[in-house]
């Protein structure tokens, strides 16, 4: 390094690392810079802007932007994967037929016996 001189073993290792990182910039094929550190966001069928089983500021569910029951439809309508709720695509297309409004009628969502 131009402005720092390593004085112990650990510093020598850092020096080697920095020199290798700052002098090999001409080789670019198939290389990409390391991804910056980001918070861990679990990405699966639950999209990051879909409410999960969360609570509102008061610790309840009444103040959520969307009703928690909304989650049912994320797994029911759009997904083929056998999940915690029956799937709409293959096995239980009528599962929510008695449930006009999930917030009020969710008790009508019954078990499905294949």
């Amino acid at each position: 390094m131009r402005h720092m001189r390593p004085l112990n073993k650990k510093a020598a290792r850092i020096d080697n690392y920095v020199v290798s990182r700052t002098t090999e910039d001409d080789v670019v094929a198939l290389q990409s810079p390391p991804a910056p550190a980001r918070p861990h966001v679990p990405m699966a069928c639950s999209l990051m802007f879909t409410p999960g089983w969360e609570v509102d500021a008061a610790g309840g569910t009444a103040g959520l932007c969307q009703p928690v029951e909304r989650d049912i439809y994320d797994c029911f309508v759009s997904c083929y994967w056998p999940a915690q709720v029956p799937d709409h695509l293959n096995n239980a297309p009528d599962w929510t037929s008695k449930c006009a409004s999930a917030t009020k009628d969710w008790r009508n969502l019954d078990l499905v016996f294949p």
Partner: protein
Amino acid sequence: MIATPVIATAEAPVYRLGEFHRFEGAGERFLYLVPAGAIFQVDQAVDALIESLSEGAAPLDQLIENLVARGLEADDAKQLVTEMAHASVIVTGKAWAEPVQSPPADFPLQTLVLNLTNQCNLACQYCYEFGADKVATPEGKPKFMDFATAKASVDFLLQQSAGRRSIHVTFFGGETLMNFPLLKQVVTYANQVAADNGRHIDFSLTTNATLLTPVIIEFLSANRIGVTVSMDGNKEMHDKLRVFANGKGSYDIIAPKVRELIQNHRTRPIAARVTLTSGVTDVVKIFRHLKQDLGFHEVGFAPVTTSPNQLYAINQRGMDGVLEQFHVLADEYLQFALRGEAHGFSNVSDTLAELCQGVNKSHPCGAGLGLLGVGPSGDIAPCHRFVDSDQHALGHISTGIDRQKQADFLQRGHIDSKYDCHTCWARPLCAGGCHHEAFVRYGDTGHPNLHYCDWIRDWTNTCLEIYGAIAARNPGFLEQFAERKAAS
């Protein structure tokens, strides 16, 4: 709740200062990077960068502008920023503390401390084995180790230290030499099995020197056994607390024996280990006496381990005085080092050895990890200070290490579990301090030793300054420390 969508922005990264400690020595400027433990000598450009970012975080273009305003060429400034960012002197984005690596589960043993006996012919009031703050519970246990236990311990060490070229056995007590016959047997046996296995084993012991005889000294010298003598200064200071059961001081008994030891044991340096207590804090005077009058090669100091209410505990003012005198000896050490001479103040040389490696400790010491203690009964303890304590036992030499208890001990002592330490720049070296001291003070081996933080930071800074000055003026002197560690 709908989270605000996180949209990746293409904004330029904002730079701010990373974690490091700045210090000076011999007119040069240095950085100690935390937690890496790396030491760099830096030039004015790095200073300019640090000063610029001390005023607040800045995006790249503004940072370059600031540096140019401070007299750097634009190209040079850019390269400087790149290099410093790679070395984490400056950082961007959110700070993510990198977790400290835990040692592997099968960490090989390196040192076994055998407490040959828990009996002692002295009655030093501050003793951690017998004094008011003792953790040992020796009732109903053997007072002297027998050969079968010692032999099993040596076998255990060889078996648990796979992959290590050289291993150590340290003899301890009680008063170690009260069981000298066993010591002799162990040395003979261990040398033989080590040789059979193509390994190298070396020995050391700590003693109060009261029982040294010409025959013992000859044996110690012939077998290259390192000797540390517990000794607190001249007659007046030493006899304050290092007394026989009848209250009589031990100085007059040991002084001639120590002279004889130093004169006739020529194969290893002889060290003195001083315990500082409330009445015994004249560090410079103690050092002069032990080094010049008696001739010890190395003298190391440690404040007594005690709960704060003991009469012999050193209060804050006393500790400040101790530190002041440490500085006097440290300055002297530096002058010696610049001339290439050995000074003998081990508190400096031990720290320099660690700085030379650039250690970044997960645990304050090797206790429970590369080092274990074995008591006369065969109980395994994290180190010699916990020997004979039922509460801290980590198994028995006949049945091996209790891995669950060991894991619990190591997890408590890990720097990650010491939240108070996470913002301290001295943590790569200190890692929270002695497990035993923590237990005596706070009742928990994993508690950081908060009562001496300022002291540790001041002392670490002093040693860094010495290291920097030596590295700038007489770098060859530091080579001995690189080799010292490599030999183990």
